[in-house]
Amino acid sequence: MKKELLLASALVGTLGLSGVAQAADMSWSGHTRNGVTWTDTDEGADALMTGGQQSSLTVSLSQVTDGGTTIATGFDVTNENDAATDSSGLTFTFNSGVKLDVIEAGAAYATQLAAVPSAAGEQGVGGTSTNSAPTGLTYANANDLVGFELHSAADAFGVDGLKLGVSASFNGDAAATTSTHSVENSFSVGASYVTTAGDTSVTVGGGFFQADTIATDATSDTQSTAMSIAAVTGDLTIGLGYASGAYLKDNTTTDQQVTGVSVTTAGVKYVSGDLTFNLGFASGEGTDSDLGSVATAASGDSYEQTAASVGYAIASGVSATIGYSDRSRSTENTASPTTSGTSWYIGADVSF
């Protein structure tokens, strides 16, 4: 039998199949978001109405080797975040289900976090760089371009529903500075577990992230421990997440270190036919100081938001969103009315 098996493989080789160019996948995909946002701050000034247009266009390329390994890459022709061309590194997906991202890879803990429902849309009163309170569970993300993220196959270690991840980035040759922050090396581990209980599916995920800085003045590093849980039962999804740690941030004069960071998120999503209702809450706090300086209790910043949205599926790839948010911020333990207030959004998303 083994001879026959070998023959089958040999036949493939004899016919030259393993030597011919294999089918490649090459595709365009993209996303646009257009809408109008009204913001009304607590300071009492006139409400502001702004139009928003964002778009991204990506070329994705992939190839499957004879051994079944998929090699994928791509680049953004335009990027809605910075309007710049941006490459996507390389992704290898092996037969075993293990996936490896290299170059500009993500952080493992963020990949494995359970997504906590939150309002869709662009609503929200903008903040300033002086407020250092985190707004989400992934506040700590900061990787160098040179790095990897390794995703385990499904059911890691033979445990149904378990996935693991590890990531790291390396910039050990970067020149040290005194008070200008930049990531040197970073690493992260993450894990997620999904299981069912009756009609309910429960996902628990989280992990740890750590990054060093090149700034010699800094007396703390970026690090975060994050965990979240999401439960889906029928059309209802409920989620809760928490993260804590510290991080470093750019600032206009001297870069800053933010310690005593904690952030809590909670949310509910309900789908009814073409309508999707989201309700989310986020609360974060942290204490900032210049790199190397001792933070004082008087320099605490906080952020709190309650937001809701209704999405309507218009057609395949097209949805409309109406969103509302109520944000409050305090900087240096003092309420910040210019960066607090309510906001509405109406717009549409188109993906292809």
């Binding site: 075993s96 494995q112 499904a154 800094a218 790839g317």
Partner: protein, 206 residues
């Protein structure tokens, strides 16, 4: 602030994860379980969102926005799978199975049948994606026989949708067939042979 001294540890952990994850060749199908997973990674994979966000927080938010839009609206403008194929290469061509009325990948099906065409078949169900062969002995090894079970589990042409189990027996002096230990390499060789034939058919059609 300080040099990261844990890099070697990370690499070791990586190797450990790879080895432990890839060794479980006989695990059951838990795709239904992951279809409900709410991790960021699973949601993005499920949605068909193709662009990578790296660690940039804004890009990650856009990535999730795009994924959520695709999930609530049933996909992209041009169908469930993300993006549109350029120059007719690859892309959505695994959807050919729809016109054939088969819920499995037709290339994997055809490649499987051709790979085991030297063996007698007990059953070949294209709707369940199952091919079962009868016991087969080659002419120069009459004291050994084998059979093969092939499972095609999805519509996409990818290795995860193909599973081969081979079983062999040897005749002992008392003329009783004795089960032999399963050789995982044989299964992998068969899977590779089938997969290569399937890719050949897809290339021919394109």
């Amino acid at each position: 602030m300080k040099k990261n001294s844990l890099t070697p540890l990370i690499l070791l952990v990586s190797l450990f994860i790879v080895s432990c994850s890839s060794s479980d060749k006989e695990k059951k199908d838990t795709s239904d379980l992951y279809a409900k997973s709410q991790t960021r990674g699973e949601i993005i994979d499920r949605s068909g969102t193709l662009f990578r966000a790296g660690s940039d927080k804004k890009a990650m938010q856009r990535q999730m926005d795009d994924a959520n839009n695709r999930l609530i609206s049933g996909g992209g403008l041009f169908g469930k799978k993300g993006g549109i194929s350029i120059l007719g290469l690859g892309g959505n061509d695994s959807g050919v199975q729809t016109s054939m009325g088969m819920p499995i990948n037709p290339y994997l099906w055809k490649g499987s049948l051709e790979t085991v065409d030297f063996m007698p078949l007990i059953s070949a169900d294209p709707f369940a994606g199952i091919i079962l062969t009868d016991w087969y002995s080659s002419g120069d090894s009459l004291g050994e026989r084998c059979k093969v079970n092939i499972f095609i589990k999805g519509v996409d042409l990818k290795s995860q949708n193909l599973k081969v189990n081979s079983f062999c027996q040897k005749l002992n002096p008392d003329n009783i067939w004795i089960d032999q230990p399963i050789v995982a390499d044989n299964n992998i060789q068969l899977e590779n042979a089938i997969f290569n034939k399937a890719k050949k058919y897809r290339l021919a059609i394109n």
